[in-house]
Symmetry: C2
Subunit: 360 residues, 2 copies
């Protein structure tokens, strides 16, 4: 078993990565400190893994909330549904909430845990590749608002993250590819060696080879944990994890939540960020081609939707969280393996990217 | 000017107590670090103090949300209203939210600030005695659920608390008395000398003598700040601040939010806690009489509503946050000036208090 530690002082926690972690009750139960456990999951995951998780919890008083599946349900109403259940079932503040699902379930469940009685314990059991390599690690929780993604939320760290590689066997191809977008991101922003490993081993990953998956998940989590430990509340370097996300959030919001998977939108957004980095003089044509090519090999879209105009992008990007006092700040690439927060982007280059990239 | 510091490491902040603090722009502006400011207030306070506050902020881009007045509006919907405005007006994560009002406004505004983009700066400008001595200090924010008070919230500290004693001039008598309930609480739980000062000076307070008010507010805030600094997240001693609150929350929820003011319910609840402390053998008849008498002199109710049965109390008390794994835990008094978290309350005594206290 690979065990990583996210070092956040008194809020530190382990990330367990292995096959069959859901067959090991003590991994879970040593992090639960009361009888009451609420499992939050969705309609897709419940038939697959809920019984397996419940089997680990026979000695506990377990309740379950099953939400509909999809980013469009990542709303304050979903959080209310969970809190209604917690109250109706008289959960006290020592209770534990387990989020069993992908990024949406982790974000909703984590935020509900953060808010209920001003904070109860929670545990992440991510069931998508994207959640395993990104959203379950680092304590960002929250829900969407019709005017912007993740606009309502909290920084709230789990007790532990339990990653079972076996669950990726049932993940559909589209979801799996979406997860690869965030894996590729780590290589791009801070780990050139990993990016090159991905170029060489992407086919193994696509074929869901266990060893390749374990390595890619571990490297992703190491990169994520290192960045989060340095900057938990995103006042500096953590922002580099948002490579492609300002473009990507605009795509998700503009196209309507649920049209694109988060990872798909991030793939497109990262290609846009790479194009803009080239216009800024930081990447060369070959770098951009390598990036686009790797996303394509991962079966990810690389062009923005034709009906989302440059004007819509500008409008949507200006409400993104990463923007301070009106100016647009973006994470761009100085090189493959090196991201930077660009504060003074020449408007001309941004407009060129929006008007030209992927428009033909 | 009296300036207290709430010592919470990197989350430390000052509490300013004086007359005319709302005439001193720099007190406020030195804690604001961006152009965008949202003032959250209510329909009662806005006509009285909103213009005065806005005058301090002429150099800022100020928006306002005016909520209806009352505990019954302390809901997730009110938080949504604030977040809608923040997004519609494109507030970024460097923005500051100012809560101008009583405890309800501070709790709602603070929770909205905690959640918006996972946390923006906020400042408390409490306008009721209760908010000045209690709810504005210590970082508890949140809203009510139909099944329980403050069930949805966050621990989220402000940048500063600005207490202007002059605003108490416009506070109606009922609200003023409600604030005195929490002032008396500090004497009861940890400051016998202050309790005795209150017995001697209550008439000065009732007449809103500035010096007496400044002293009582300062002593209350010192007591609160000391307890919070020791136990920010309420894993221990902070629970003693909840003297009377488990009974009180049951009264508020049972009677319907808005029927009793929070301080009124706490006065009754504290008398119930005193009665139970006597049955436990900790207070004598004279202690209980002194406590009830002081609340009466502060024009506060001391008996539970006749239509709230002992059975309803039990039902409502069991969902209170202070209860762990089914057992009822209550803050009781070992003596005047000394509170304790009673974990093993004899059911018999609790029932006697519920069936007998104030029922004749």
């Amino acid at each position: 078993m690979r065990i990583l530690n996210l070092d956040l002082g008194e809020r530190s926690y382990p990330i367990y990565i292995d096959t069959n972690t859901l067959g090991q009750p003590e991994l879970l139960t040593k992090h639960i400190h009361s009888k009451q456990v609420l499992i939050v999951t969705n309609e897709t995951i419940a038939p697959l893994y809920l019984a397996k998780l419940e089997k680990l919890l026979v000695d506990y008083s377990v309740e379950t909330v099953i939400l509909p599946d999809g980013e469009q349900y990542k709303t304050l109403e979903a959080v209310s549904t969970i809190i209604d259940t917690l109250l109706e079932k008289r959960f006290n503040r020592n209770a534990t909430l387990i989020a069993l699902g992908g990024g949406v379930i982790g974000d909703i469940g984590g935020f509900a845990a953060a808010c209920y009685q001003r904070g109860i314990a929670f545990i992440q059991v991510p069931t998508t590749l994207l959640a395993q390599v990104d959203s379950s690690v680092g304590g960002k929780t929250g829900v969407n608002h019709i005017l912007g993604k993740n606009m309502i939320g909290a920084f709230y760290q789990p007790q532990c993250v339990i990653i079972d590689i076996d669950v990726l066997k049932t993940l559909d191809d589209r979801q799996f590819s979406a997860g690869l977008a965030e894996v590729i991101k780590y290589g791009l922003i801070r780990d050139k060696e990993f990016f090159e490993w991905l170029e060489q081993n992407l086919d193994l990953l696509i074929n869901r080879d266990n060893d390749a998956l374990a390595f890619a998940i571990e490297q992703s989590c190491i990169n994520k944990a290192t960045v989060v430990a340095e900057d938990e509340k995103e006042s500096g370097v953590r922002a580099t994890l948002n490579l492609g996300h300002t473009f990507g959030h605009a795509i998700e919001t503009g196209a309507g939540y649920g049209t694109f998977l988060h990872g798909e939108a991030i793939a497109i957004g990262t290609c846009q960020a790479a194009d803009l980095s080239r216009r800024m003089g930081w990447l060369n044509d070959d770098d951009v081609a390598r990036i686009i090519n790797l996303f394509k090999r991962a079966n990810l879209p690389v062009k923005p939707p034709a009906d989302l105009s440059a004007e819509s992008f500008l409008e949507l990007m200006s409400v993104d969280k990463k923007n301070i006092d009106g100016g647009i700040r973006l994470i761009l690439l100085k090189a493959i393996g090196s991201a930077t927060l660009a504060m003074t982007i020449e408007q001309k280059y941004l407009l060129e990217t929006l008007y030209e990239y992927g428009r033909n």
